[in-house]
Symmetry: C2
Subunit: 487 residues, 2 copies
């Protein structure tokens, strides 16, 4: 039974209207100041109450000497104070009537010894006052659709469709720039820290219900409530994919995660079992997790595991085919009907096997328009991978040949690419099967950037595209299995 | 017995002084025109003779109706003509006295049928006249130190240290931009095509002797002369690493390579054996091949397989440790002496295990200067992986706090980063062990760009850094084994 998002424990933490901020000052290098600055920078719509014993104003806002003095009861306390001060402040918040908190401060369970007792202390205080909280030892939360970014890093792109919960704050914030470089962004990001109260399962519940989240990402060092995790995931997977990157399956990972968040990780096989049972797709790295999410968020699901590779360059096509095979994708030859339709487009140097290698097109647009349109209808495949390349220099050279040079040529080449990519994206987005581009070029290349910004999946290499497609196939299977079991 | 580079068969092809160009015209979209344009663009120092039956000039150069009419004997013929014209032109070149050629044209053995006979025909003609040639079905060669780029793509970065031979032309040219994005470039690039004459073994010989090449890269779909390959590689590996990406080990890869270059590939295990015997490091993708090359070209070799991870963020540190374990790298704790020296730099939230997790430094430069200097001396490790992050926004926020805003702040932040990175790079480059940075940021980030441009190895993720270090360990072992066997 899925909750409405407003009924989830995280809803008020992700949609606060009045925030009491502890630890922000006019010392610009301080963590708390940076968090407040990030909140302001994204244009937060509610009221901010910096609480500071000495300052009269903080970052241009009126500061309050104590939480008790605030003119109303904030719906969230954001605490970025030295470890030892946290219990006292949390209690003061409770007395004021605050019922939600984010505790960024570290120095608790993750350091062992006294830290363990301190963490128990804040849990007891929270219990006393009925406070639900994220952290401690976290880096905050970000909710771009709500123009709300309570993390150390500025969030500069628009809202995206990835909802992420992470046992490492870095994998929320350090990824802002990383995601922007593929045209992606967060619908929600939650750094759970030590999970003394709110944990991954609560995040799953929130992200499952979040209307902006198309794909859920998890960075996991440990799962503290195994049964609840599996049940929650299984309730979500039929309508939303979950991708997880689990670190801790190796000896080195296990030791590192213990000192990071005090997590007790388990062997790979155990986690593989949990993920399979949950219908969660396991990724082998952070990059892979976002590759999978990109494709799952942008493309229709494949009906099966049969891939068709389109290329005009033998090498990248061969690599894509090799990677597809290694990922368990089938590469069937195209049907005789498709071969017949292709005839007009493939020169004698080309090949109509699988990969379909065009080698050379008289009209470069054929490669991106007529040819995909023919291939996507082929009944021998469930998805396509296509090598994308549109080097600007070739267009500029043709223009030079027409006597157009300098800035005029550059501007005309851009207009030309913009018009082409608009047409191509319109076409591809109508396809009922996944059509995944791969290119060694990035958004620095206008062709790639335009396509990504239009919602076409373009991955940075054939191997990454093949693995993402294989992950989509896995998701389709998991989903079907869970749906059948529920009937 | 290693040849002098000038004695290698490829030397005159890579260092031509007078080139006859067939297939360039004033049609700007034509392949041949683009090759000639690329040669001109890199500022080639020799004479170019476009040969064209009708044009009087081509790209501003005097054109010649036939090769027989040229005023001197070129030392290279560059042939970019329709398949059927190649035999006749090659014979004319032979008659003129030309003894080297690059045949870009496709439509030979790789298409089967008549193509096979045509390829035999050009081999016979070459034999008759003593012509040595690269191709057919290739994309040309590039020799940046010689300001010579006979490929379809403009080469825009400076010369680098990677010497590559490839059975796919795309993996030479489409990688210009890719390599530039890590601050890398080619010392030499050779697209071997169908290898009707000059093959990978000849390329190895040339690249082994090339003084600008620090690391050799190979893209392989098949090895045609196994014994010669092994012998040649073994003669090079003691003084220069060779990294190969082999595609064709899977069913899909095998079929694709057959239609690409007519290559008969073999199973993975066979090729693994050949590579091990040759001392060649096998990479799992094109990206990996260049990651390995970057580290091998920039860092000293590790004495063993013991890695030490430095981080200030738990997540990326844990991932690095996990990946090191999976790659067979050992993660020993640091020595008590090192721990003692570190004390002043690690706050109570930090950890001095392995990873060493600083969590927070009062002075951000400590993380990049004093701490690495202490850790690199630790006797329990042979190499270091360090998480690199220097977000510009933090520096700008501090400046805003000091009342410095707008363009002045931006300029001062840049000066600050430039000065920091100069100092950091100077320090790191003196280390006697590999010190490999990893960051989810790219060259778009000034900190990363400056370090890369100063010759510091910065890879795009912890996993890629761990795999590159593991490859360096493999190379060190291979090299030692071959050196011992030779004694």
């Amino acid at each position: 039974m899925q909750k409405n998002i407003e009924q989830t424990v995280l809803y008020p933490i992700m949609h606060p209207r009045h925030i009491a901020v502890f630890g922000a000052s006019n010392r610009y290098a301080a963590m708390g100041t940076n968090l407040l600055s990030s909140i302001q920078a994204l244009g937060f719509n509610g009221t901010l109450y910096p609480v500071h014993p000495k300052e009269k104003t903080v970052l241009g806002l009126k500061a309050w000497p104590a939480v008790a003095d605030l003119p109303e009861i904030p719906d969230l306390a954001l605490i970025v104070l030295p470890t030892g001060l946290v219990p006292e402040i949390l209690a003061a918040c409770g007395k004021k009537g605050i019922r939600q908190a984010i505790i960024v401060s570290g120095g608790f369970k993750e350091v062992g010894g006294e830290g363990i007792a301190l963490e128990q202390q804040i849990c007891d205080i929270a219990n006393t006052y009925g406070i639900r909280f994220v952290g401690p030892n976290c880096i905050g939360v970000v909710n771009p659709p709500h123009q709300y970014n309570a993390t150390y890093f500025p969030y500069q792109q628009g809202p995206g469709f990835i909802g992420m919960a992470s046992q490492s704050g870095s994998f929320i914030t350090h990824m802002f720039d990383y995601l922007a470089r593929s045209g992606l962004g967060y619908s929600a990001g939650i750094s759970v820290g030590n999970e003394a109260d709110i944990d991954l399962v609560d995040c799953l519940e929130y992200l499952g219900a979040c209307p902006h989240t198309k794909v859920i990402c998890l960075y996991i060092e440990t799962i503290r409530r195994g049964r609840a995790f599996i049940d929650m995931a299984r309730s979500i997977v039929p309508h939303k994919p979950i991708v997880a990157y689990y670190v801790g399956g190796s000896e080195g990972g296990k030791k590192a995660t213990l000192s990071h968040t005090g997590a007790l990780s388990g062997p790979d096989r155990l986690y593989d079992g949990v993920f399979r049972q949950s219908g969660v797709i396991r990724a082998g790295s952070i990059e892979e997790m976002f590759d999978f999410s990109l494709c799952l968020g942008l493309c229709p699901l494949p009906a099966g595991n049969r891939a068709l590779v389109q290329t005009h360059s033998g090498g990248p096509g061969a690599v894509a085919a090799d990677m597809c095979s290694r990922e368990g994708l089938a590469l069937n030859p195209i049907s005789p009907e498709t071969r017949e339709k292709l005839k007009a487009y493939v020169p004698h140097t080309g090949s109509t096997g699988n990969p379909v290698d065009i080698t050379y097109s008289k009209n470069s647009m054929d490669y991106y328009m007529s040819i995909p349109e023919i291939l996507i209808e082929d009944t021998a495949s469930d998805a396509m991978l296509a090598y994308f390349l549109m080097p600007g220099h070739a267009i500029r050279r043709v223009m030079e040949g027409m006597g157009i040079t300098g800035e005029t040529a550059a501007a005309q080449a851009e207009t030309f690419i913009d018009e082409q990519t608009r047409q191509i994206a319109d076409r591809i987005k109508k396809f009922a099967k996944p059509y995944i581009g791969f290119s060694y070029y990035t958004r620095n290349n206008r062709f790639v950037r335009n396509l990504q910004d239009s919602g076409v999946a373009v991955l940075p290499s054939p191997g990454r595209a093949a693995r993402a497609l294989a992950a989509m196939v896995r998701y389709t299977r998991y989903r079907k299995k869970i749906q059948c079991a529920a009937r």
